[in-house]
């Protein structure tokens, strides 16, 4: 059985139609999507380079998943709330988050630290699948706020194929189902959970699992930005209007390593990567733009210039990022001042200042000699 794959743009760049997902985009909208895809990939490349140069501790690349993230990310309304994993750099871009904020986490300057309410983009969650419950609870809040309807709100939560084995994800499916919560479960099935292939997580296509929980599931070409946009738009609107959750399985491929510490040559064949390169999410949009005559060389040159500029900006921001004050580790843990933490903070401050005193003392001795 070949599960149905919703597709609106073939890997060769040919536009196709799907009866359930009509999509009308202006030339400018298509160009904007292309630009998003290119810029997001550029930010990713820059971050990998920064890690290789020792400026980031680690980086989780989204290479290959740009269409899934940009397509779904651009389907969200400003009041919808997105709950990411740690790889949703493309969604972060769509939500207007400064890419430099993402680097803070991977550089070790903060554990995140952006204001989720500012961009309706929650903090990255590193524990696999835990955020699916947060999104579901948030969606239950939307229900209680009476914020459903045509102009309503919904939540979307991102996770991967590996996460579908987690208890939290399955609990979130149950919760969302029995409460009919306005939440869209967006699973980027990138075929690999570090070194474990999809067969280690499931014997059936992931989207079919939704049926067992009692809500619709569908499978979309995750490398097709048009299809991802169309299916996510529809699922989000259904959620906003009180029709409950949807599971979207975006079939894609992690073209890079799990993170910069990983070595995929130990567990997968290069032929597999080569076959997915033919389905590249960016190339097909480019081909479509060229073939249809919507864009000429000057457009692509301009996008490349933009991407160089964004890359340079990310690089500069990273290099200029100061280390936090050591004493700041005692901040923000509790809402009110804590005597225990104040004591430990003073202890560390005094310990640190003892070194300054020593240095002053020894230089004083040298002066004396």
């Amino acid at each position: 059985m070949t599960p149905e794959l919703i597709q609106l743009l073939t890997p060769e760049g040919e536009r196709t139609e799907h009866p359930d997902y009509p999509l009308e985009l202006s030339v400018d909208e298509i160009k904007a999507l292309y630009r998003d895809l290119v810029l997001v990939r550029r930010i990713d490349f820059e971050a990998i380079a920064l890690q290789r140069q020792g400026e980031l501790g680690i980086w989780a690349s989204l290479l290959g998943q740009e269409a899934a993230q940009v397509g779904s990310g651009r389907a969200l309304g400003p009041r919808d709330m997105a709950f990411p994993t740690y790889r949703e750099h493309g969604v972060a871009w769509c939500r207007g988050l400064d890419p430099a904020k993402l680097l803070e986490l991977f550089r070790g300057v903060s554990h995140g630290g952006w204001d989720p309410k500012e961009h309706n983009f929650h903090l990255y969650t590193i524990v696999i699948g835990a955020q699916t419950l947060h999104a579901t609870g948030y969606a239950m809040g939307i229900q209680r706020d009476g914020a459903l309807g045509e102009d309503g709100e919904a939540a979307i939560v991102y996770f991967g194929d590996g996460a579908t084995s987690q208890g939290d994800v399955n609990e979130a499916f149950i919760w969302a189902s029995v409460t009919n919560a306005p939440v869209v479960f967006f699973c980027q099935n990138n075929q690999w959970a570090i070194s474990e292939p999809l067969e280690r997580q499931t014997r059936i296509p992931l989207y079919l699992r939704a049926g067992g929980f009692g809500f619709p599931g569908l499978r979309v070409d995750g490398n097709d930005v048009f299809a991802c946009l169309a299916v996510t738009r529809k699922a989000m609107q259904a959620a906003r209007e009180g029709q409950g959750p949807t599971l979207i399985e975006a079939s894609t491929y992690r073209m890079g390593a799990h993170t910069t510490t990983d070595d995929p040559t130990r567990y997968r064949l290069s032929a597999e990567l080569e076959s997915w390169k033919l389905k590249d999410p960016i190339e097909r949009v480019k081909q479509y733009l060229i073939r249809s005559g919507m864009a000429k060389e000057d457009f692509f040159t301009a996008v490349n210039a933009d991407s160089d500029e964004v890359g340079a900006r990310v690089r500069t921001a990273c290099l200029e990022m100061p280390d936090p004050d050591p004493l700041s580790m005692f901040d923000h843990i509790y809402a009110d001042p804590s005597a225990l933490l104040a004591g430990e903070r003073a202890q560390l401050a005094s310990y640190l200042s003892s070194f300054v005193a020593d240095e002053a003392g020894s230089s004083g001795q040298e002066e004396g000699r």
């Binding site: 929650h122 903090l123 419950l133 947060h134 209680r144 939290d168 919760w175 509790y334 804590s338």
Partner: protein
């Protein structure tokens, strides 16, 4: 003043919390029509509706995880975990998410979530229904951990916990649910000490006896028995286990020179160990005896036919007092 059981006093406290803030929710297994297996939420769904007091699917990680999401949306959820031994499926959500998200967000997010847990033994229950896991939570930065000792304090503390902007793990001594005291339903919260303060229940001069939750009554009875033997015991109900009210503890120990910590939890790595270390460091020159601990053994909670040997009772606490005085 009204005479109430602890279960009823907590119920009244929850009712006050629901009345005073529309954002307060109660969620958990069987908290709706049934009113909870200990009836702590009895009648609340009927009075506040199924949107605010609701039964959840039977999955503890889901309870705490969705409570976090509701808190992110501006709600103040009170989760009920049915029994102490069932909190562990939610441990990841509590430790890795609930406790750390405010820090992770550099203070931009606050999670005013209360996790109520009936704890402790003494009711003849089967396995996983008699445990005292408080130290596991007190170890985690970002959580407040409290335990109530009697109805009057339970009534106040549950309201204080709901008002608190930090996550609070709220332990309720299940074998004391049916103990009664006078509760001031009108002025209960104002009269109570702040949530992070201990309270001195009896003033004494010979030994400081530190306790919380189910051991409060046991220690009070011990103090009476000790007094009959001419020993003056100062009983302090810690109330807050994280943070500890070290000010009150140190002041008392500096006065008496002796300190015995009592809890049902195993002494190994328990609250008593933390208190002993801090008392030793801060009250070293005032101590007449090492800090002693009376608590559960370093065993799994035994079958209920053995629990009377496991749990500290009046005689074992008194023995601890005597051992301290013997130095």
């Amino acid at each position: 003043m009204t005479t109430l059981t602890l279960s009823r006093a907590l119920n009244e406290g929850l009712r006050k919390a629901l009345e005073s803030d529309q954002k307060v929710l109660i969620m958990g297994e069987d908290v709706g029509k049934l009113g909870g297996v200990f009836r702590v939420t009895d009648g609340l769904q009927k009075d506040f509706g199924e949107d605010r007091v609701f039964d959840t699917p039977l999955a503890e990680s889901g309870i705490v995880g969705t409570a976090i999401g509701l808190a992110l949306r501006g709600y103040r959820p009170i989760c009920e975990i049915q029994f102490d031994g069932f909190v562990f499926p939610a441990f990841d959500q509590i430790v890795s998410q609930l406790a750390k998200m405010p820090f992770r967000s550099l203070g931009k997010l606050r999670l005013p979530v209360v996790v109520r847990i009936p704890f402790g033994g003494g009711i003849g229950a089967v396995e996983h229904h008699s445990e005292s896991p408080e130290a596991l939570f007190a170890h985690v930065a970002g959580l407040r951990v409290v335990a109530c000792g009697d109805p009057a304090d339970g009534y106040a503390m549950i309201q204080q916990s709901v008002s608190c902007d930090d996550p609070v793990i709220f332990f309720e001594p299940k074998r004391r649910y049916w103990d009664k005291t006078e509760v001031d339903l009108a002025g209960g919260v104002a009269a109570a000490p702040p949530l992070d303060k201990a309270r001195t229940l009896t003033s004494g001069t010979d030994v400081t006896l530190l306790c919380y939750g189910p051991m409060v009554r046991t220690c009070m009875e011990t103090a009476v028995a000790a007094e009959a033997e001419g020993k003056s015991v100062e009983v302090i109900d810690l109330r807050s286990l994280a943070p500890l009210d070290t000010e009150t503890i140190f002041e008392s120990v500096r006065k008496t020179g002796r300190c015995v910590v009592v809890h049902e939890a195993p002494v190994t790595g328990g609250l008593g160990a933390e208190i002993a270390a801090r008392v030793t460091q801060e009250c070293f020159y005032h101590l007449e005896a090492p800090v002693l601990r009376v608590g559960g053994y370093s065993t799994p909670y035994p079958p209920s036919r053995l629990e009377e040997h496991y749990l500290p009772d009046l005689d074992r606490v008194l023995d601890g007092v005597d051992r301290s005085l013997a130095y």
